[in-house]
Point group: C2
Chain length 314, copies 2
Protein backbone atom coordinates (compact mmCIF):
# COMPACT_ATOMS: atom_id res chain seq x y z
CA UNK A 1 0.00 0.00 0.00
CA UNK A 2 3.03 2.26 -0.31
CA UNK A 3 1.38 4.00 -3.24
CA UNK A 4 -1.11 5.57 -0.84
CA UNK A 5 1.48 6.43 1.71
CA UNK A 6 3.78 8.19 -0.65
CA UNK A 7 1.23 9.94 -2.83
CA UNK A 8 0.37 13.05 -0.86
CA UNK A 9 3.50 15.04 -0.14
CA UNK A 10 3.20 17.16 2.92
CA UNK A 11 5.60 19.93 2.10
CA UNK A 12 4.09 23.37 2.42
CA UNK A 13 0.38 23.47 2.99
CA UNK A 14 -1.75 20.62 4.35
CA UNK A 15 -2.19 17.94 1.73
CA UNK A 16 -4.80 15.43 0.92
CA UNK A 17 -5.76 13.03 -1.79
CA UNK A 18 -7.52 14.97 -4.51
CA UNK A 19 -11.29 15.12 -4.45
CA UNK A 20 -11.45 14.25 -8.14
CA UNK A 21 -10.97 10.58 -7.21
CA UNK A 22 -14.25 10.58 -5.27
CA UNK A 23 -16.75 8.00 -6.47
CA UNK A 24 -20.18 7.27 -5.05
CA UNK A 25 -20.05 4.81 -2.17
CA UNK A 26 -22.94 3.01 -0.51
CA UNK A 27 -23.36 0.43 2.24
CA UNK A 28 -26.39 -1.73 3.04
CA UNK A 29 -25.80 -1.73 6.77
CA UNK A 30 -23.27 0.27 8.75
CA UNK A 31 -22.56 -0.71 12.35
CA UNK A 32 -21.56 1.89 14.93
CA UNK A 33 -19.72 0.40 17.89
CA UNK A 34 -19.69 2.95 20.69
CA UNK A 35 -22.54 5.45 20.59
CA UNK A 36 -20.61 8.52 21.76
CA UNK A 37 -19.69 11.83 20.17
CA UNK A 38 -17.56 10.35 17.38
CA UNK A 39 -19.83 7.38 16.58
CA UNK A 40 -23.02 9.41 16.87
CA UNK A 41 -21.74 12.21 14.62
CA UNK A 42 -20.56 9.64 12.05
CA UNK A 43 -23.98 7.96 12.07
CA UNK A 44 -25.80 11.29 11.60
CA UNK A 45 -23.44 12.30 8.78
CA UNK A 46 -23.65 9.07 6.75
CA UNK A 47 -27.43 9.05 7.08
CA UNK A 48 -27.63 12.62 5.85
CA UNK A 49 -25.32 11.78 2.93
CA UNK A 50 -27.31 8.62 2.07
CA UNK A 51 -24.19 6.53 2.40
CA UNK A 52 -26.03 3.81 4.33
CA UNK A 53 -29.46 2.21 3.92
CA UNK A 54 -29.53 1.28 7.59
CA UNK A 55 -27.39 2.13 10.62
CA UNK A 56 -27.23 -0.29 13.54
CA UNK A 57 -25.68 0.71 16.86
CA UNK A 58 -24.10 -1.05 19.80
CA UNK A 59 -22.90 0.43 23.05
CA UNK A 60 -22.16 -0.94 26.48
CA UNK A 61 -24.30 1.89 27.83
CA UNK A 62 -28.01 1.29 27.24
CA UNK A 63 -28.62 4.99 27.93
CA UNK A 64 -26.34 5.93 25.02
CA UNK A 65 -28.05 3.45 22.68
CA UNK A 66 -31.45 4.83 23.59
CA UNK A 67 -30.27 8.40 23.06
CA UNK A 68 -28.83 7.38 19.66
CA UNK A 69 -32.19 5.89 18.68
CA UNK A 70 -34.04 8.99 19.90
CA UNK A 71 -31.69 11.30 18.00
CA UNK A 72 -32.25 9.22 14.85
CA UNK A 73 -28.50 8.58 14.64
CA UNK A 74 -29.12 4.82 14.49
CA UNK A 75 -32.09 2.91 13.02
CA UNK A 76 -31.78 -0.11 15.27
CA UNK A 77 -29.77 -1.41 18.21
CA UNK A 78 -27.85 -4.70 18.27
CA UNK A 79 -27.88 -6.81 21.42
CA UNK A 80 -24.30 -7.92 20.94
CA UNK A 81 -21.20 -7.20 18.91
CA UNK A 82 -21.64 -10.58 17.19
CA UNK A 83 -25.19 -9.72 16.15
CA UNK A 84 -24.02 -6.33 14.86
CA UNK A 85 -21.09 -7.79 12.92
CA UNK A 86 -23.25 -10.38 11.14
CA UNK A 87 -25.42 -7.65 9.60
CA UNK A 88 -22.88 -5.05 8.49
CA UNK A 89 -20.73 -4.33 5.47
CA UNK A 90 -18.99 -1.49 7.32
CA UNK A 91 -18.26 -1.26 11.03
CA UNK A 92 -17.04 1.94 12.69
CA UNK A 93 -15.18 1.30 15.91
CA UNK A 94 -15.67 4.36 18.13
CA UNK A 95 -14.56 3.10 21.53
CA UNK A 96 -11.66 4.17 23.80
CA UNK A 97 -8.41 2.93 22.21
CA UNK A 98 -7.69 0.61 25.15
CA UNK A 99 -10.90 -1.32 24.36
CA UNK A 100 -9.86 -2.09 20.75
CA UNK A 101 -8.60 -5.67 21.12
CA UNK A 102 -11.48 -6.94 23.28
CA UNK A 103 -14.08 -5.30 21.05
CA UNK A 104 -12.60 -6.68 17.83
CA UNK A 105 -12.34 -10.16 19.34
CA UNK A 106 -16.08 -10.07 19.94
CA UNK A 107 -16.75 -8.79 16.42
CA UNK A 108 -14.54 -11.32 14.58
CA UNK A 109 -16.83 -14.39 14.65
CA UNK A 110 -19.58 -12.39 12.91
CA UNK A 111 -17.40 -10.35 10.55
CA UNK A 112 -18.59 -10.70 6.94
CA UNK A 113 -16.02 -11.53 4.24
CA UNK A 114 -16.91 -8.45 2.19
CA UNK A 115 -17.06 -6.08 5.18
CA UNK A 116 -14.39 -3.82 6.60
CA UNK A 117 -13.79 -2.06 9.89
CA UNK A 118 -12.47 1.46 10.53
CA UNK A 119 -11.64 2.98 13.89
CA UNK A 120 -11.51 6.61 14.99
CA UNK A 121 -8.79 6.28 17.65
CA UNK A 122 -6.35 9.06 18.43
CA UNK A 123 -3.40 6.67 18.49
CA UNK A 124 -2.52 4.22 15.78
CA UNK A 125 0.44 1.95 16.67
CA UNK A 126 -1.34 0.45 19.68
CA UNK A 127 -4.63 0.17 17.78
CA UNK A 128 -2.90 -1.65 14.88
CA UNK A 129 -1.21 -4.03 17.29
CA UNK A 130 -4.47 -4.71 19.13
CA UNK A 131 -6.35 -5.20 15.86
CA UNK A 132 -3.76 -7.60 14.47
CA UNK A 133 -3.84 -9.66 17.68
CA UNK A 134 -7.64 -9.73 17.71
CA UNK A 135 -8.32 -10.28 14.02
CA UNK A 136 -5.42 -12.48 12.84
CA UNK A 137 -5.85 -13.16 9.11
CA UNK A 138 -8.84 -10.82 9.02
CA UNK A 139 -6.57 -7.90 9.95
CA UNK A 140 -6.67 -7.08 6.22
CA UNK A 141 -10.29 -6.02 6.79
CA UNK A 142 -9.22 -3.39 9.33
CA UNK A 143 -8.33 0.09 8.12
CA UNK A 144 -6.75 2.24 10.86
CA UNK A 145 -8.28 5.66 10.74
CA UNK A 146 -8.18 8.90 12.77
CA UNK A 147 -10.49 11.80 12.00
CA UNK A 148 -9.00 15.01 13.41
CA UNK A 149 -12.29 16.09 14.89
CA UNK A 150 -13.75 16.21 18.34
CA UNK A 151 -15.02 18.39 21.08
CA UNK A 152 -14.07 18.67 24.71
CA UNK A 153 -17.55 17.37 25.59
CA UNK A 154 -17.99 13.65 25.09
CA UNK A 155 -21.27 11.78 24.69
CA UNK A 156 -23.87 11.10 22.01
CA UNK A 157 -25.84 14.18 23.11
CA UNK A 158 -23.05 16.40 21.77
CA UNK A 159 -23.03 14.71 18.35
CA UNK A 160 -23.34 16.92 15.34
CA UNK A 161 -23.96 16.05 11.72
CA UNK A 162 -21.10 18.23 10.44
CA UNK A 163 -18.37 17.17 12.90
CA UNK A 164 -16.32 15.68 10.04
CA UNK A 165 -16.84 18.47 7.52
CA UNK A 166 -13.59 20.22 6.58
CA UNK A 167 -11.59 18.08 8.97
CA UNK A 168 -8.58 15.95 8.13
CA UNK A 169 -8.96 12.19 8.28
CA UNK A 170 -5.74 10.24 8.64
CA UNK A 171 -5.80 6.80 7.01
CA UNK A 172 -3.00 4.36 7.86
CA UNK A 173 -3.42 1.42 5.45
CA UNK A 174 -0.98 -1.39 6.27
CA UNK A 175 0.78 -3.95 4.09
CA UNK A 176 -2.24 -6.27 3.89
CA UNK A 177 -4.95 -3.64 3.28
CA UNK A 178 -6.60 -4.23 -0.13
CA UNK A 179 -6.89 -1.25 -2.44
CA UNK A 180 -10.66 -1.71 -2.67
CA UNK A 181 -11.09 -0.96 1.05
CA UNK A 182 -8.89 2.11 0.89
CA UNK A 183 -10.86 3.46 -2.08
CA UNK A 184 -14.20 2.90 -0.35
CA UNK A 185 -13.00 4.61 2.82
CA UNK A 186 -11.56 7.49 0.86
CA UNK A 187 -14.81 7.95 -1.04
CA UNK A 188 -16.86 7.79 2.17
CA UNK A 189 -14.86 10.42 4.06
CA UNK A 190 -14.66 12.70 1.06
CA UNK A 191 -18.44 12.51 0.71
CA UNK A 192 -18.64 13.71 4.33
CA UNK A 193 -16.46 16.69 3.41
CA UNK A 194 -13.25 15.44 5.02
CA UNK A 195 -9.72 15.73 3.63
CA UNK A 196 -7.84 12.42 3.44
CA UNK A 197 -4.19 12.21 4.51
CA UNK A 198 -2.28 8.92 4.19
CA UNK A 199 0.36 8.17 6.77
CA UNK A 200 2.25 5.37 8.50
CA UNK A 201 0.98 4.55 12.01
CA UNK A 202 4.40 5.33 13.50
CA UNK A 203 4.54 8.77 11.94
CA UNK A 204 0.93 9.45 12.91
CA UNK A 205 1.71 8.78 16.56
CA UNK A 206 4.83 10.97 16.52
CA UNK A 207 2.98 13.90 14.97
CA UNK A 208 -0.12 13.71 17.16
CA UNK A 209 1.97 13.33 20.30
CA UNK A 210 3.32 16.77 19.46
CA UNK A 211 0.30 18.60 18.07
CA UNK A 212 -2.42 17.07 20.24
CA UNK A 213 -1.41 14.77 23.09
CA UNK A 214 1.27 17.02 24.60
CA UNK A 215 -0.98 20.13 24.65
CA UNK A 216 -3.62 18.08 26.48
CA UNK A 217 -1.05 16.94 29.06
CA UNK A 218 0.12 20.54 29.54
CA UNK A 219 -3.43 21.84 29.87
CA UNK A 220 -4.29 19.17 32.48
CA UNK A 221 -1.14 20.03 34.46
CA UNK A 222 -1.90 23.74 34.19
CA UNK A 223 -5.43 23.42 35.61
CA UNK A 224 -4.17 21.14 38.38
CA UNK A 225 -1.52 23.72 39.28
CA UNK A 226 -4.30 26.26 39.85
CA UNK A 227 -6.35 23.76 41.87
CA UNK A 228 -3.40 22.90 44.11
CA UNK A 229 -2.32 26.50 44.76
CA UNK A 230 -3.88 29.25 46.93
CA UNK A 231 -6.59 31.55 45.54
CA UNK A 232 -8.09 28.94 43.21
CA UNK A 233 -11.51 30.62 43.19
CA UNK A 234 -10.14 34.10 42.59
CA UNK A 235 -7.86 32.83 39.83
CA UNK A 236 -10.75 31.13 38.05
CA UNK A 237 -13.06 34.12 38.60
CA UNK A 238 -10.61 36.58 37.05
CA UNK A 239 -9.41 34.54 34.07
CA UNK A 240 -10.01 35.96 30.61
CA UNK A 241 -10.13 34.80 27.01
CA UNK A 242 -6.46 33.74 26.88
CA UNK A 243 -7.09 31.32 29.74
CA UNK A 244 -10.35 30.17 28.12
CA UNK A 245 -8.74 29.12 24.86
CA UNK A 246 -5.46 27.83 26.30
CA UNK A 247 -7.23 25.59 28.80
CA UNK A 248 -10.22 24.48 26.71
CA UNK A 249 -8.76 21.03 26.02
CA UNK A 250 -8.27 20.44 29.76
CA UNK A 251 -12.03 19.81 29.83
CA UNK A 252 -11.60 16.69 27.67
CA UNK A 253 -12.82 13.21 28.57
CA UNK A 254 -10.60 11.65 31.30
CA UNK A 255 -10.96 7.99 30.23
CA UNK A 256 -10.23 8.73 26.61
CA UNK A 257 -7.18 10.83 27.47
CA UNK A 258 -5.83 8.43 30.07
CA UNK A 259 -5.87 5.78 27.33
CA UNK A 260 -4.31 8.01 24.68
CA UNK A 261 -1.48 9.25 26.90
CA UNK A 262 -0.61 5.74 28.01
CA UNK A 263 -1.01 4.23 24.54
CA UNK A 264 1.29 6.83 23.01
CA UNK A 265 3.53 7.02 26.08
CA UNK A 266 6.89 6.92 24.31
CA UNK A 267 6.14 9.64 21.77
CA UNK A 268 4.36 11.83 24.32
CA UNK A 269 7.34 11.72 26.68
CA UNK A 270 9.65 12.55 23.77
CA UNK A 271 7.56 15.59 22.84
CA UNK A 272 7.42 16.58 26.50
CA UNK A 273 11.22 16.48 26.71
CA UNK A 274 11.48 18.76 23.68
CA UNK A 275 8.98 21.14 25.29
CA UNK A 276 10.77 21.10 28.64
CA UNK A 277 14.03 22.17 26.98
CA UNK A 278 12.34 25.21 25.43
CA UNK A 279 10.50 26.03 28.65
CA UNK A 280 13.75 25.92 30.63
CA UNK A 281 15.34 28.31 28.11
CA UNK A 282 12.48 30.80 28.54
CA UNK A 283 12.57 30.37 32.32
CA UNK A 284 16.26 31.30 32.39
CA UNK A 285 15.64 34.34 30.20
CA UNK A 286 12.88 35.54 32.53
CA UNK A 287 14.96 34.81 35.64
CA UNK A 288 17.89 36.77 34.21
CA UNK A 289 15.56 39.48 32.85
CA UNK A 290 17.31 38.97 29.51
CA UNK A 291 15.03 41.09 27.36
CA UNK A 292 17.00 40.64 24.16
CA UNK A 293 16.96 36.84 24.22
CA UNK A 294 13.38 36.72 25.48
CA UNK A 295 12.19 39.05 22.77
CA UNK A 296 13.87 36.88 20.13
CA UNK A 297 12.40 33.67 21.54
CA UNK A 298 8.89 35.12 21.76
CA UNK A 299 9.18 36.62 18.27
CA UNK A 300 10.10 33.22 16.88
CA UNK A 301 7.01 31.64 18.43
CA UNK A 302 4.73 34.56 17.60
CA UNK A 303 5.80 34.72 13.95
CA UNK A 304 5.37 30.97 13.48
CA UNK A 305 1.94 30.98 15.11
CA UNK A 306 0.91 33.99 13.02
CA UNK A 307 2.03 32.22 9.84
CA UNK A 308 0.16 29.07 10.84
CA UNK A 309 -3.06 31.04 11.32
CA UNK A 310 -2.60 32.74 7.98
CA UNK A 311 -2.03 29.45 6.13
CA UNK A 312 -5.07 27.99 7.82
CA UNK A 313 -7.39 30.79 6.80
CA UNK A 314 -6.39 30.49 3.13
CA UNK B 1 -9.06 53.42 49.69
CA UNK B 2 -9.56 50.15 51.52
CA UNK B 3 -13.32 50.54 51.12
CA UNK B 4 -12.93 49.89 47.38
CA UNK B 5 -10.56 47.04 47.86
CA UNK B 6 -12.70 45.17 50.29
CA UNK B 7 -16.10 45.82 48.76
CA UNK B 8 -16.37 43.15 46.05
CA UNK B 9 -16.00 39.74 47.59
CA UNK B 10 -14.70 37.18 45.14
CA UNK B 11 -16.17 34.03 46.55
CA UNK B 12 -18.15 31.99 44.06
CA UNK B 13 -18.81 33.66 40.75
CA UNK B 14 -16.87 36.61 39.31
CA UNK B 15 -17.77 39.79 41.16
CA UNK B 16 -17.81 43.43 40.37
CA UNK B 17 -19.00 46.68 41.79
CA UNK B 18 -22.70 46.96 41.16
CA UNK B 19 -23.86 48.81 38.10
CA UNK B 20 -26.41 50.74 40.13
CA UNK B 21 -23.63 53.10 41.24
CA UNK B 22 -23.08 54.23 37.64
CA UNK B 23 -23.46 57.95 37.10
CA UNK B 24 -23.02 59.90 33.88
CA UNK B 25 -19.39 60.88 33.26
CA UNK B 26 -18.03 63.27 30.68
CA UNK B 27 -14.63 64.67 29.77
CA UNK B 28 -13.79 67.71 27.65
CA UNK B 29 -10.63 66.23 26.19
CA UNK B 30 -9.31 62.70 26.54
CA UNK B 31 -5.72 61.97 25.57
CA UNK B 32 -4.72 58.58 24.22
CA UNK B 33 -1.02 57.86 24.64
CA UNK B 34 -0.08 54.93 22.42
CA UNK B 35 -2.32 54.46 19.40
CA UNK B 36 -2.43 50.66 19.35
CA UNK B 37 -5.14 48.05 19.85
CA UNK B 38 -5.94 49.02 23.45
CA UNK B 39 -5.72 52.79 22.99
CA UNK B 40 -7.54 52.75 19.66
CA UNK B 41 -10.38 50.59 20.96
CA UNK B 42 -10.73 52.80 24.05
CA UNK B 43 -10.90 55.89 21.83
CA UNK B 44 -13.54 54.36 19.57
CA UNK B 45 -15.61 53.23 22.57
CA UNK B 46 -15.61 56.54 24.48
CA UNK B 47 -16.48 58.44 21.30
CA UNK B 48 -19.39 56.10 20.64
CA UNK B 49 -20.58 56.49 24.24
CA UNK B 50 -20.23 60.30 24.08
CA UNK B 51 -17.93 60.22 27.09
CA UNK B 52 -15.53 62.72 25.52
CA UNK B 53 -16.08 65.90 23.48
CA UNK B 54 -12.68 65.52 21.83
CA UNK B 55 -10.05 62.77 21.71
CA UNK B 56 -6.43 63.69 21.12
CA UNK B 57 -3.82 61.06 20.32
CA UNK B 58 -0.08 60.69 20.66
CA UNK B 59 2.10 57.86 19.45
CA UNK B 60 5.78 57.48 18.73
CA UNK B 61 4.74 55.94 15.42
CA UNK B 62 3.46 58.54 12.95
CA UNK B 63 1.89 55.71 10.94
CA UNK B 64 -0.22 54.70 13.95
CA UNK B 65 -1.33 58.27 14.60
CA UNK B 66 -2.36 58.67 10.96
CA UNK B 67 -4.27 55.39 11.05
CA UNK B 68 -6.01 56.50 14.26
CA UNK B 69 -7.04 59.75 12.56
CA UNK B 70 -8.24 57.88 9.47
CA UNK B 71 -10.26 55.44 11.58
CA UNK B 72 -11.84 58.36 13.42
CA UNK B 73 -10.54 56.99 16.72
CA UNK B 74 -8.90 60.33 17.51
CA UNK B 75 -9.98 63.84 16.50
CA UNK B 76 -6.53 65.37 16.56
CA UNK B 77 -2.90 64.42 17.07
CA UNK B 78 -0.57 66.00 19.61
CA UNK B 79 3.05 66.71 18.65
CA UNK B 80 4.36 65.90 22.09
CA UNK B 81 3.29 64.35 25.39
CA UNK B 82 3.55 67.77 26.99
CA UNK B 83 1.18 69.27 24.43
CA UNK B 84 -1.26 66.38 24.95
CA UNK B 85 -1.15 66.63 28.74
CA UNK B 86 -1.87 70.36 28.75
CA UNK B 87 -5.18 69.82 26.94
CA UNK B 88 -6.64 66.79 28.71
CA UNK B 89 -8.76 66.06 31.74
CA UNK B 90 -8.25 62.31 31.26
CA UNK B 91 -5.18 60.58 29.86
CA UNK B 92 -5.15 56.89 28.97
CA UNK B 93 -1.67 55.41 29.00
CA UNK B 94 -1.64 52.54 26.50
CA UNK B 95 2.08 51.88 26.02
CA UNK B 96 4.22 48.81 26.82
CA UNK B 97 4.59 48.59 30.62
CA UNK B 98 8.35 49.14 30.43
CA UNK B 99 7.74 52.60 28.90
CA UNK B 100 5.58 53.80 31.82
CA UNK B 101 8.11 55.86 33.76
CA UNK B 102 9.61 57.67 30.78
CA UNK B 103 6.18 58.45 29.33
CA UNK B 104 4.79 59.78 32.61
CA UNK B 105 7.90 61.94 33.14
CA UNK B 106 7.18 63.61 29.81
CA UNK B 107 3.49 64.05 30.70
CA UNK B 108 4.02 65.50 34.22
CA UNK B 109 4.98 69.11 33.35
CA UNK B 110 1.72 69.50 31.39
CA UNK B 111 -0.58 67.49 33.69
CA UNK B 112 -3.62 69.55 34.72
CA UNK B 113 -4.55 69.69 38.39
CA UNK B 114 -8.06 68.36 37.77
CA UNK B 115 -6.95 65.64 35.35
CA UNK B 116 -6.21 62.00 36.04
CA UNK B 117 -4.31 59.25 34.26
CA UNK B 118 -5.22 55.56 33.86
CA UNK B 119 -3.05 52.88 32.32
CA UNK B 120 -4.04 49.57 30.70
CA UNK B 121 -0.91 47.59 31.58
CA UNK B 122 -0.98 43.86 32.25
CA UNK B 123 1.23 44.21 35.34
CA UNK B 124 0.59 46.57 38.21
CA UNK B 125 3.38 46.52 40.83
CA UNK B 126 6.02 47.70 38.35
CA UNK B 127 3.64 50.22 36.80
CA UNK B 128 2.80 51.67 40.24
CA UNK B 129 6.48 51.92 41.10
CA UNK B 130 7.31 53.60 37.79
CA UNK B 131 4.37 55.98 38.12
CA UNK B 132 5.31 56.97 41.66
CA UNK B 133 8.90 57.63 40.60
CA UNK B 134 7.80 59.66 37.59
CA UNK B 135 4.93 61.62 39.13
CA UNK B 136 6.04 62.23 42.72
CA UNK B 137 3.28 64.15 44.52
CA UNK B 138 1.07 63.88 41.45
CA UNK B 139 1.00 60.09 41.85
CA UNK B 140 -2.44 60.66 43.42
CA UNK B 141 -3.64 61.56 39.90
CA UNK B 142 -2.66 58.11 38.60
CA UNK B 143 -5.17 55.26 38.84
CA UNK B 144 -3.61 51.87 38.00
CA UNK B 145 -5.95 49.98 35.75
CA UNK B 146 -5.99 46.72 33.76
CA UNK B 147 -8.81 45.88 31.38
CA UNK B 148 -8.90 42.10 30.82
CA UNK B 149 -9.29 42.50 27.10
CA UNK B 150 -7.04 42.09 24.13
CA UNK B 151 -6.38 40.14 21.01
CA UNK B 152 -3.32 38.29 19.81
CA UNK B 153 -3.01 40.86 17.00
CA UNK B 154 -1.61 44.20 18.08
CA UNK B 155 -1.97 47.51 16.27
CA UNK B 156 -4.56 50.24 15.83
CA UNK B 157 -5.89 48.48 12.71
CA UNK B 158 -7.25 45.68 14.91
CA UNK B 159 -9.10 48.11 17.20
CA UNK B 160 -12.74 47.47 17.79
CA UNK B 161 -15.37 49.60 19.43
CA UNK B 162 -16.64 46.78 21.66
CA UNK B 163 -13.29 45.43 22.93
CA UNK B 164 -14.17 46.45 26.51
CA UNK B 165 -17.78 45.29 26.51
CA UNK B 166 -18.44 42.52 29.00
CA UNK B 167 -14.83 42.42 30.07
CA UNK B 168 -13.49 42.82 33.57
CA UNK B 169 -11.51 45.95 34.39
CA UNK B 170 -9.22 45.71 37.39
CA UNK B 171 -8.76 48.98 39.28
CA UNK B 172 -5.97 49.19 41.86
CA UNK B 173 -6.48 52.49 43.70
CA UNK B 174 -3.62 53.20 46.14
CA UNK B 175 -3.50 54.99 49.47
CA UNK B 176 -3.36 58.46 47.89
CA UNK B 177 -6.05 57.99 45.21
CA UNK B 178 -8.96 60.39 45.84
CA UNK B 179 -12.45 58.89 45.82
CA UNK B 180 -13.54 61.31 43.06
CA UNK B 181 -11.10 59.76 40.59
CA UNK B 182 -12.16 56.24 41.45
CA UNK B 183 -15.83 57.12 40.97
CA UNK B 184 -15.16 58.76 37.60
CA UNK B 185 -13.16 55.78 36.39
CA UNK B 186 -15.80 53.38 37.63
CA UNK B 187 -18.53 55.28 35.86
CA UNK B 188 -16.52 55.46 32.64
CA UNK B 189 -15.77 51.74 32.43
CA UNK B 190 -19.29 50.77 33.40
CA UNK B 191 -20.62 53.01 30.62
CA UNK B 192 -18.41 51.02 28.24
CA UNK B 193 -20.03 47.81 29.49
CA UNK B 194 -17.12 46.61 31.62
CA UNK B 195 -17.29 45.00 35.05
CA UNK B 196 -15.15 46.70 37.72
CA UNK B 197 -13.08 44.63 40.13
CA UNK B 198 -11.03 46.37 42.85
CA UNK B 199 -7.78 44.77 43.88
CA UNK B 200 -4.36 45.47 45.40
CA UNK B 201 -1.53 45.66 42.83
CA UNK B 202 0.31 42.80 44.55
CA UNK B 203 -2.67 40.48 44.36
CA UNK B 204 -3.34 41.51 40.77
CA UNK B 205 0.15 40.50 39.75
CA UNK B 206 -0.06 37.16 41.55
CA UNK B 207 -3.38 36.28 39.93
CA UNK B 208 -2.49 37.35 36.41
CA UNK B 209 0.87 35.59 36.58
CA UNK B 210 -1.17 32.42 37.00
CA UNK B 211 -4.16 32.97 34.72
CA UNK B 212 -2.47 34.90 31.92
CA UNK B 213 1.31 35.31 32.00
CA UNK B 214 2.16 31.65 32.64
CA UNK B 215 -0.10 30.34 29.83
CA UNK B 216 1.62 32.75 27.44
CA UNK B 217 5.05 31.51 28.54
CA UNK B 218 3.92 27.89 28.06
CA UNK B 219 2.42 28.60 24.66
CA UNK B 220 5.63 30.34 23.48
CA UNK B 221 7.73 27.40 24.70
CA UNK B 222 5.36 24.93 23.06
CA UNK B 223 5.56 26.57 19.62
CA UNK B 224 9.35 26.85 19.92
CA UNK B 225 9.55 23.13 20.75
CA UNK B 226 7.84 22.38 17.43
CA UNK B 227 10.11 24.79 15.57
CA UNK B 228 13.25 23.24 17.05
CA UNK B 229 12.22 19.61 16.45
CA UNK B 230 12.07 17.53 13.23
CA UNK B 231 8.92 17.56 11.04
CA UNK B 232 7.98 21.15 11.87
CA UNK B 233 6.04 21.59 8.62
CA UNK B 234 4.18 18.31 8.92
CA UNK B 235 3.32 19.01 12.54
CA UNK B 236 1.89 22.41 11.69
CA UNK B 237 0.07 21.07 8.63
CA UNK B 238 -1.69 18.34 10.60
CA UNK B 239 -2.64 20.28 13.71
CA UNK B 240 -6.32 20.56 14.55
CA UNK B 241 -8.63 22.69 16.67
CA UNK B 242 -7.06 21.65 19.99
CA UNK B 243 -3.72 22.99 18.79
CA UNK B 244 -5.40 26.10 17.40
CA UNK B 245 -6.97 27.15 20.70
CA UNK B 246 -4.15 26.02 22.97
CA UNK B 247 -1.53 27.92 20.99
CA UNK B 248 -3.55 31.02 20.03
CA UNK B 249 -1.87 33.23 22.64
CA UNK B 250 1.58 32.26 21.30
CA UNK B 251 0.82 34.69 18.46
CA UNK B 252 0.85 37.63 20.90
CA UNK B 253 2.99 40.73 20.56
CA UNK B 254 6.66 39.97 21.44
CA UNK B 255 7.60 43.39 22.85
CA UNK B 256 4.54 43.57 25.06
CA UNK B 257 5.08 40.06 26.38
CA UNK B 258 8.81 40.44 26.90
CA UNK B 259 7.98 43.44 29.12
CA UNK B 260 5.18 41.69 31.02
CA UNK B 261 7.18 38.54 31.75
CA UNK B 262 10.16 40.52 32.98
CA UNK B 263 8.05 43.03 34.92
CA UNK B 264 6.19 40.23 36.70
CA UNK B 265 9.23 37.95 36.86
CA UNK B 266 8.90 36.84 40.47
CA UNK B 267 5.22 35.89 40.32
CA UNK B 268 5.59 34.26 36.89
CA UNK B 269 8.46 32.07 38.10
CA UNK B 270 6.41 31.12 41.16
CA UNK B 271 3.44 30.09 39.02
CA UNK B 272 5.81 28.22 36.71
CA UNK B 273 7.19 26.27 39.66
CA UNK B 274 3.67 25.27 40.71
CA UNK B 275 2.95 24.16 37.13
CA UNK B 276 6.21 22.21 36.86
CA UNK B 277 5.32 20.20 39.96
CA UNK B 278 1.99 19.14 38.46
CA UNK B 279 3.57 18.43 35.07
CA UNK B 280 6.19 16.22 36.69
CA UNK B 281 3.45 14.27 38.49
CA UNK B 282 1.61 13.65 35.21
CA UNK B 283 4.88 12.76 33.47
CA UNK B 284 5.60 10.07 36.08
CA UNK B 285 2.07 8.67 35.75
CA UNK B 286 2.46 8.43 31.98
CA UNK B 287 5.96 6.94 32.27
CA UNK B 288 4.71 4.31 34.73
CA UNK B 289 1.52 3.80 32.70
CA UNK B 290 -0.35 4.36 35.97
CA UNK B 291 -3.87 4.52 34.58
CA UNK B 292 -5.60 4.89 37.95
CA UNK B 293 -3.57 7.91 39.07
CA UNK B 294 -3.61 9.45 35.62
CA UNK B 295 -7.35 9.08 35.31
CA UNK B 296 -7.82 10.77 38.70
CA UNK B 297 -5.48 13.63 37.83
CA UNK B 298 -7.15 14.22 34.46
CA UNK B 299 -10.63 13.99 35.99
CA UNK B 300 -9.69 16.65 38.53
CA UNK B 301 -8.57 19.02 35.76
CA UNK B 302 -11.44 18.16 33.45
CA UNK B 303 -14.12 18.64 36.11
CA UNK B 304 -12.67 21.97 37.21
CA UNK B 305 -12.42 23.22 33.63
CA UNK B 306 -15.98 22.03 32.92
CA UNK B 307 -17.26 23.85 36.00
CA UNK B 308 -15.40 27.02 35.00
CA UNK B 309 -17.02 26.98 31.57
CA UNK B 310 -20.43 26.43 33.10
CA UNK B 311 -20.03 29.34 35.55
CA UNK B 312 -18.87 31.54 32.73
CA UNK B 313 -21.85 30.82 30.50
CA UNK B 314 -24.29 31.71 33.27
Amino acid sequence: MTSYLSSPSLSGSPNSATHSSTTAVHFQKVGIVGCGLMGGSFALAIKKANIASHVVGFSQSITSVNKALQLGAIDSAANSLLELAKQCDLILLAVPVAATQKTLEAILPGLQKHAFIMDVGSTKLDVCEAAELALGDSYSQFLPCHPIAGRERAGIEHSCVDLYENCKVILCPHSSTPESIVLKAQSLWQTLGSQIVFMQAQEHDEIYATVSHLPHLLAFAYINSILNAPKTEKNFALAGTGFRDFSRIAGSDPTMWRDILIANQKQVLQSLDAFSIELEKLKQMVAKADGTQLSQAISQASNARGKWQLNRSH
